[in-house]
């Protein structure tokens, strides 16, 4: 069964609707990327998935006993709070020391245990967050703009690490990002969000979909090709968003 199912979910804050009629399912072992411009409801959707918020209408169903590992967007630890990497990993408790070391190894940063969190570089910090998310051997890993603040090689290396994590542990991965090129290339499936689900499918399908191009333009196609070394680099004019015949084509391509 699916790990999490969202059934016709809407979220509104007062008069503002952040999400409307979103339905999606996250399957075991897949890498799903959710892309969308600012204000498209990505964070609202993520908060629904981790259980930090409830939908205004619709229903979220989680597989019973589902373990979620969460890598937050950016974490600011107040400099007045002294904490070592190991102590941070062992929060909120019940974690063995050996599990910390193993998680740090899997996240690609072994040997950081005794460092202060405040002394880490941006890349190390994100990997420690990844290690923390991996420590309970989750069925599902959720990453919210996890590479913000990393440079291009840094985030490319981070996503390669994510793919390796999936290979080694078999957990499903959901990434939220606006760094389209790198993220999408590593995904099995992409959902393009803009208040509602605009289009979804394989990275190639979505990057060719007119709805996607209406939102992001065509520039990212090149970067995708750079990463994958595939020739899907085209320069179609961006079509009008929600064009009916194009819609059915995207659906068929799935």
């Amino acid at each position: 069964m699916s790990l999490i199912t969202a059934d016709n979910v809407s979220v509104s804050y007062g008069a503002n609707t952040a999400l409307r009629n979103v339905s999606l399912a996250i399957e075991p072992g897949e890498i799903l990327t959710i892309v969308g411009p600012n204000g498209s409801g990505k964070t609202s959707l993520l908060r629904l998935l981790i259980g930090a918020a409830s939908p205004s209408t619709g229903r979220i169903t989680r597989k019973p006993g589902l373990r979620i590992g969460y890598v937050p967007q950016k974490l600011h630890i107040d400099p007045t709070l002294p904490i070592t990497v190991e102590r941070f990993l062992r929060l909120p408790g019940g974690i063995e020391r050996s599990a910390c070391a193993a998680a740090l190894r899997r996240a690609g940063v072994p040997g950081l245990s005794n460092r202060q969190m405040s002394a880490l570089s941006g890349g190390q910090f994100q990997r420690v967050l990844l290690a923390r998310a991996l420590i309970n051997t989750p069925d599902l890993l959720l990453l919210d703009e996890a590479t913000q603040g990393l440079d291009q090689p840094g985030s490319a290396a981070f996503y390669l690490q994510i793919e390796e994590v999936r290979r080694n542990t078999g957990c499903a991965i959901v990434m939220i990002s606006h760094e389209l090129h790198v993220v999408m290339a590593a995904s099995d499936r992409v959902i393009c969000l803009n208040g509602h689900v605009c289009c979804e499918g394989t990275p190639e399908n979505v990057s060719a979909a007119p709805e996607y191009r209406a939102l992001f333009g065509t520039g990212t196609g090149g970067a995708l090709a750079l990463y994958r070394h595939e020739h899907d680099h085209t320069h179609d004019e961006a079509c009008a968003h929600g064009d009916a015949p194009q819609d059915s084509k995207t659906a068929a391509a799935e």
């Binding site: 908060r47 930090a52 979620i68 107040d78 709070l81 002294p82 904490i83 929060l91 909120p92 202060q116």
Partner: protein
């Protein structure tokens, strides 16, 4: 004198772990507001002839909850706290003036009267301190997780709002037991200064809370002795010693780095 020392150490022990959270969560002004509101609680308790402790806890708690509810609804947090803290203090002082015959006591509530601590007071102080330390110790990991990130807390099945409530309750109790020792105007100092002084040589949150307790307790001992030797007011003397400790550890950090 022994009772004064015991009372002061009791407050310092409760203030240490709580003060660490106040520092980490940047709640210093929040602590101040809660403490200032307590004078209103004192006035009400005197008028209704109930225990000062109960009155102070009730009003401090009401104040803390009001701030929590109102925050994020139009006014910036510091504006809101500025309005509530000082109006609560002003209303408290006005309310006390309506009560006949206790004007002399006012200074004792504003600045503390640690040398007049009775056996009963001592029991209340240590009972309250034990409650606060127990509460924070019980919720320690959950509190720490939600202090670092509300989202991470949610992902671990912790409700950060509930943890916030635990801190609020602990703060109200600490304020109420500390009135007798340092008075409402200096309670925030007992929370913040030892914790801030402990920061430079702590590597983990637990070390910082323990070091804050040591610095707080030490400040009480040295402060009371200097107050006795120099004939200075006891509560402010304790805070002065803590401030000097803060200065010393701050300099230590500058020299080390």
């Amino acid at each position: 004198m022994t009772r004064a020392v015991l009372a002061g150490v009791g407050v310092a022990l409760a203030a240490a772990p709580l003060g660490s959270f106040v520092v980490w969560r940047r709640m210093a002004y929040f602590g101040d507001a809660t403490a200032h509101a307590a004078i209103l609680g004192v006035a009400l308790a005197l008028a209704l002839q109930i225990s000062i402790f109960a009155g102070a806890v009730a009003i401090a708690l009401a104040m803390a909850l009001t701030v929590t509810v109102l925050s994020g609804r139009g006014y910036a947090m510091d504006t809101l706290l500025g309005v509530l803290a000082h109006s609560a203090l002003a209303f408290g002082l006005v309310a006390v003036s309506f009560l006949s015959g206790i004007r002399i006591d006012l200074m004792a509530y504003l600045f503390g009267d640690i040398l007049a601590v009775s056996r009963g007071d001592l029991a209340v102080i240590w009972g309250g301190a034990a409650l606060v330390v127990g509460l924070i110790g019980w919720r320690w990991s959950a509190l720490l997780t939600s202090t670092i990130s509300a989202e991470l807390a949610h992902a671990s099945g912790i409700d950060p709002k509930r943890e916030q409530l635990v801190l609020t309750l602990a703060l109200a109790i600490t304020v109420a037991v500390a009135i007798k020792v340092v008075g409402v105007l200096l309670i925030a100092a007992m929370l913040i200064i030892p914790a801030a002084a402990a920061r430079p040589f702590s590597r983990t949150p637990e070390q910082m809370a323990l070091a804050a307790a040591a610095i707080g307790g030490g400040s009480v001992l040295v402060g009371l002795q200097s107050a006795y030797a120099l004939d200075t007011p006891a509560g402010p003397s304790i805070v002065c010693v803590a401030a000097l400790a803060f200065l010393a550890t701050g300099l230590f950090q500058v020299v080390r780095d």
